[in-house]
Each structure stands twice: as structure tokens, then as C-alpha cells.
Amino acid sequence: MDYSQKVMEHFLNPRNVGKIENPDGIGEVGNPICGDMMTFYIKVKDNRIVDVKFQTFGCGAAIAVSSMVSEMAKGKTIEEALKITNKKVAKELGGLPKNKLHCSNLGADALHKAIEDYLRKKGKKYAKGGKK
């Protein structure tokens, strides 16, 4: 397989695999038809992502991308995390084979969805709080 060393390293030793109990945001992307599925969980404290976990069904690239995204997002503020793009992820991994670039799209998308979920929930909480 034409994967970079970095991709192989993340594939074999992925960081932050798993699930967060009572997460502040969940992001799910992909479906088995396109080949890959990713679920991202985030824990947020004072507008900062303090914990990230993921579960991925997919190829070596999909697993490596998930791992890299989780590492890049950890410790970032929400605004900073939203700036993580597919291109940046692929670059950090030392590049991806052409036909695997779509995997990097999924990784950033899953993270952004989890953030979106967090913001939505927060909005609701905020609204409820406001009513009191």
C-alpha cells in the first residue's frame, strides 16, 4: 500500500480510540455504502476541547485520519478546532494516496459535526437557562 510512514504509524497505534460517557458533542459521518463510518465524541470545558475519542469503521487511511484529527483537536478552543481542514489533516499525515483523500474529508467532517452538536446542545441549555 502506498501509505506514508505517518499514516501507517497512526493506523497501527491510533490515539484516542473509544467512547466518552456523557459527551458534550457527538458527530457521526459516512455510511457503509461509501466504505467508511466515523463517530467522534468531544468533551468541552471553558470553550476548549479537553477530550476527544473516536470509533471508526474503515480502511487504514480512515483510521489514521481519525487518529490524527483527534490529536489535532485535543486542547484546542472551539474556534481553533473548527479551522482544522481536510487539507491540514492530510498534510499532517505526510499526504494520502489520491483515491484516499475522501477519507480525510470524513475525519474533519466528523469533528465539525461533533462541535456543531455541542453548540446546538449548548444553545438549548442556554435557552432553558434564560427562561428561568
Binding site: 501509505y3 497501527l12 467512547k19 467508511d36 463517530t39 469503521f57 480502511c59 483515491n99
Partner: protein
Amino acid sequence: MKHIYFDSIAGTPVHPEVWKEMEPFIKVEFGNPQSLHSFGQKTRKVIEKARERIANLIGAKKEEIYFTSSGSEANNFAIKGLAFAYQNKGRHIILSSIEHQSILNSAKFLEKLGFYFSYLPVDRYGLVDPDDVRKSIKEDTILVSVMWANSEVGTIQPIKEIAKICQERGVLFHTDAVAAVGYVPIDVSKIGIDSLSLAGSQMYGPKGIGALYLKKRTKIIPLIHGGMQEEGKRAGTENVAGIVGLGKAAELSIRKMEERNKKLMKLRDKIIKEFPEKVNYIYLTGHPEKRLPYHASFCIEYIEGEAMLLSLDLKNIAVSSGSACVSRTLRVSHVLLAMGYPHALAQGSIIFSFIENNTEEEIDYLLEVFPPIIERLREMSPLYNKHFSKKE
């Protein structure tokens, strides 16, 4: 560490005896077989000897064998060449839905030229029902193509019955036998086959060489126009070394088929029995009995094939998968989908195909290192985790 090769469907090693016969035709004997002088006479002679050996392997006559560059070319030649030759009779062609890409994409090309196609369904084992062939034949049907055996799931088709139906109805019958030749006894003289594709790279011959058997008096339009090689049906200076290698591979197959199959079947049956004892949620794909002697294929639920393939490669074990992520088109195996497998399960395809040098110890090693790989990937998989949280 030693490398273990379980991917004969992608190609077998060249047998030392094959190479021994080929070598002089790469190194020394460069004569063009079309030349009248002694240089040409030498290479012409070995080509005809190879033709005879291949004919012997499948019960054909020597003059019914045409050399091509590959199994894919032989399939292209058959489907397009026969369609063009018989288009005045009709424009309808019947294919099984699990044919090789070289057949399916030839069909797509012919569709643009006004031919139309029916696709035969398969059951969950990948078998074509001969009755479906009978029902699909129309007034203007000119050709039926059903592969002898499928390289992704190993299933062997009821070729004799299908050929008989085609013969009775006066329709040409082509079979892609690339995965079967050399392993399954084939005698075209006893069953009504009009054309058959074969190649060297799956029976210990070289790559870059194939052949088409075409029954005497069957018309065909060439794909490659030029000189008078292969009776004017396939132009281009002959791949002499390749042809010699294919011939030797055919001769070895006749001699060693029984002994080889006995050994391969032992390996196949061992993995089919022992693998499911070690891992849950795995399914044998293809027919449990009507299958190639060297072939064992599975779908492993909740995980994806490329991730398994890569992990096994790092343990020095080479295998195949029909997963979308492995294919360059990023499409999951059309064979498994035709057999009714859902996408997610088809993504977990893994194919073990053995060579004659494989040993039982190698399978023991696989069965030792593979289950932890599966477990690791499942622990990462949202599908696996969802499945078990539902159960709780």
C-alpha cells in the same frame, strides 16, 4: 521473517520448470516466428508445441487456440469479437452478474454500439441457475457468457448444463475459465463450449500471456489488426517466451492437477473448518462444496477489508479483499452484492487463495495472528460497538 503468500488469484509464482523452458527465449532465441529463416523456424516450432499443450489441457484441437496478452484480452476478444461477427443474427447478449470486469466493461462498451444485455442473477452462494439462462434467451440472443469459476468467492458454475441449453437453442456460449483452468478438469470437446478464456498467471505460468479457445468454424472479428499472426485473428509479433511458459504451465497442470488439488484442498478445508472456531461473526462466502480447490473466502462482520489486509501484510501474510477501499474504483465487490450481501458486510471481505508451496503450518500461523487483528479493529468499530450496546 518468511513471507506467506495466500493470494494465488492475483497471480502464482512462476514454476521453476516453466522458467527453465522460457529462459532461452528471453536470453538467446530472439527469432521472429514469422521469419522464414532458421531463427524464425526455431521460435515458430516452440509456439506450435505450446499451442498443442494448451489444447491438451482443455480437450481442444491445436488450431482452436489463439494466444492473447492476458485473460482480459481473451475475454474482450470473445465478447466483442463474437458480438461483431454475429450482429446480423441479433444484438442481445446474456451475462452472469458476477462476470469479471473485462467482460462487464466490454458489455458497457458494446451497449454504446447498440447491443443490449441481460444479467443473470446468482443465489447466495454465487450460483447461476441454468433455468434462468433458458428463460433469458430471446429470438435475437447471440451469445451467453458465464464464468467457469469466480475468483472472489470460489464458486464453480454448472457449466455443462448452461452450455447444453445454449447449444440446444443455437446460441453461442463463452466461458471465462481463468480461475478454473489447471484446477478443474475441462474438456471442451465433450460439452458445447464455443469459446473459453485462460491465462498463465494463475497456474504457475508467466504474466502477460493468455489464450482464447475458439471452436472450429466459429466466426470472430479481430480486435488487433495487422499481420497474419494467429491466423490473422490476433496480429502482433508473438510473445514467444510467454507462450512457451504458458505451454509448459499447461503441461505441468495436466501432470500435477490431481496431486496439487489434493494438497490445496487440504489447506482450504483446514481454514474453512478452523477459522470460524477462532472468530465469531464470520461467514464463508461462495459455495461450501462447489468451490475452487485453492480458495477460501470470508466476510468478517463489523470491520473493513483493507485494514485487515494491511495488518496481515505487516505480519508478512499476503491476502486479497473485495472491499471498496481496496479497489481502485472504490466500489465494493459486485460479486458479493449480487449474492445479496449488504454493503457493510461485503466491506469485510477477505480472500485466501493458496499456492502449491503453502503449508499447514502457515495456516496455523495465520490463525494465530489474525484473531487479535480482528479484535483490535472491532474494538475501534462503531458498528461493532453499536451491535453490542443494542444487545445489552
